[in-house]
């Protein structure tokens, strides 16, 4: 269980160099512009779509890309551009027009003092925090955020549906997560404060899911889009008080093209549910299908292609 989006800073340096070279190239003289001269469309009509170096993000970007192409746009895919530090400058400068993002994580990046946690509040705060020239289109129900997750059998035995129900468990309960979770604003201390739940902490890091399955820990912090939600018998506990920072999938687009692409992309966000995103990720990690095949299938299944 790797917290992929957070622990790839090392990669970002190298990838950002590559990104700077490729994107620098497309800003000045884009080789993809040449053939489109015949069809009469100007170079400004090409929509550049970026993605993080994170397989799940790339699948979403691929869905945007194929849908826009089907709607008659020229698209230029610039995928796997490392982490936020690497690609945000190019998104802000307008070199990339469309980028699949996550509301909470992006808000945290733009405004370290942000306090919003519920999906609506985070989205509203994100719209405020976005720099000039960028627009957030509708966010999807699908999210990639921290969860308090338990085995289904454990939930049934103890009649658990939300985090607060953990206080009914009579045996000691330990939550496993990355080491920093202990001190995150949605960590065990917050669960105690808001829900009155006493949780031990275990820094299970990369073995969080395995530790949960092995019974070493009773609760695990697993990202909500993790394929394990489909492949294993686990369930995320509800968080009615919104202690966890919501991080829904949200398309960030350059304001210049926002009006043109909003219909196509908002239609995708409307259909992208939490289960759908997990299912897409399972096709990548378990079935080993390529992002473009997965995107094509999903668009066809949802009558969007």
């Amino acid at each position: 269980m790797f917290t992929a989006r957070k622990s790839r800073l090392a990669l970002a340096g190298g990838v950002s160099l590559v990104a700077a070279l490729t994107l620098g190239g497309c800003a000045s003289s884009n080789p993809l512009d040449a053939p489109s001269e015949d069809s009469g469309s100007g170079s400004g009509d090409t929509i550049v779509i970026g993605s993080q170096a994170y397989y799940s993000n790339e699948i979403i970007a691929e869905i945007y890309s194929q849908a826009l192409e089907a709607a008659g746009f020229d698209v230029d895919e610039q995928f796997s551009i490392g982490q936020r530090d690497a690609y945000m400058p190019d998104v802000e400068s307008g070199a990339i027009d469309v980028f699949p993002e996550y509301t909470g994580n992006l808000l945290e990046y733009l405004d370290k003092d942000a306090t919003a946690t519920s999906p609506e509040d985070v989205y509203a705060a994100l719209k405020e925090a976005l720099p000039e020239g960028l627009t957030a289109l509708d966010y999807a129900e699908a999210s990639d955020q921290d969860t308090y997750t338990v085995l289904k059998s454990f939930a049934e035995e103890n009649d658990l549906t939300s985090i607060g129900d953990l206080s009914k468990v009579t045996t000691p309960v330990t939550i496993g997560a990355a080491p920093e979770f202990e001190q995150r604003p949605y960590g065990p201390a917050k669960a105690k404060e808001v829900y009155g739940v006493d949780l031990g902490f275990s820094a299970t890091g990369p073995t969080t899911l395995e530790s949960l399955l092995a019974g070493e820990i009773q609760v695990a912090d697993i990202y909500s889009a993790d394929p394990a939600f489909q492949t294993e018998d686990i369930v995320a506990l509800e968080d009615p008080e919104n202690i966890i920072l919501a991080s829904n999938v949200v398309p960030i687009v350059s304001s210049d093209v926002a009006d043109e692409v909003s219909d196509v992309i908002n239609a995708i966000s409307a259909k992208l549910t939490a289960e759908e995103l997990v299912a897409l990720n399972v096709q990548s990690t378990v079935d080993q299908k390529s992002a473009s095949d997965i995107a094509e299938q999903w668009l066809a299944d949802n009558d969007l292609s």
Binding site: P179, E180, A203, T207, A214
Partner: protein
């Protein structure tokens, strides 16, 4: 306040003495993994090194294997072993990693200690009627001890520095504040943890430097030709021979 004074403030805060990650607990975990790993490595490497040094056989193989073992990336090996052994055997995975890390230094210390002895000393020991076993225990081992302790010193330092990564797989130790602090961008905590590891390494190194000095054989130490402690072994050779 700069990050260094913040780190000291973090270190001396009363919060460091309570909770599951209190510094004494982390220190205990760190020393536990260090000592267990070095002891296991010594049980394997020292007899093997002595055998190589005494017989002079297999030296090339030992050099090659020890050299290659030094190039193993500990972090990658540890995570791989966790995957292979499963989450219920995490401590074993970590200890195997640290044992493999400690073996090359110990092996080198053991066989070079015996190799560095002047052949004439051994010949005279045999000429006095000592059995091979007596030559080994009464001449080779005592004379080789300073270099062996040097090997233990190097192994301990490497292992103390590397046990820091054990926190990544939930084993605690002084790496815990470092590995927890980086994603949180709490650099006072990161530096505080790093200072502790560095201080621990320096103290252990100093103690072993004293031990290394103390184990120089009494006969070698009192030799009249001795000028510098470093050349004690070489200087001792003509005196005893």
């Amino acid at each position: 306040m700069n990050v260094f004074t913040e780190a000291l403030a973090w270190l001396f805060s009363p919060d460091r003495w309570v909770g599951p990650y209190a510094l004494p607990v982390l220190f205990g975990q760190h020393m536990y993994f260090t000592l267990v790993s070095v002891v296991i490595a010594a049980v394997i490497a020292v007899p093997l090194g002595w055998l190589i040094g005494h017989t002079g056989k297999g030296r090339e193989v030992a050099v090659a294997v020890a050299g290659a073992a030094r190039a193993i990336p500990s972090f990658g090996l540890m995570v791989l072993l966790v995957l292979l052994l499963g989450v219920l055997r995490i401590p074993e995975a970590a200890i195997i990693t640290f044992v493999l890390l400690a073996i090359p230094s110990l092996l080198a210390g053991a066989y070079t200690g015996l190799e560095a002895i002047d052949r004439r000393i051994l010949d005279s020991a045999r000429a006095m009627g000592m059995t091979e076993w007596q030559v080994f225990w009464k001449v080779e081992v005592p004379l080789g001890l300073p270099l062996l302790v040097g090997g233990i010193r190097a192994a301990l330092l490497q292992v103390i520095a590397t046990v820091t990564i054990a926190a990544y797989i939930n084993l605690g130790g002084l790496g815990q504040p470092i590995i927890q602090g980086i994603p949180l961008r709490k650099f006072d905590q990161v530096l505080g943890g790093a200072i502790l590891v560095a201080v621990l390494a320096l103290i252990v190194d100093l103690l072993l430097a004293i031990v290394q000095h103390a184990v120089v054989s009494a006969g070698v130490r009192s030799a009249p030709q001795k000028r510098r402690s470093r050349s004690a072994l070489k200087a001792a050779a003509p005196a005893t021979a």
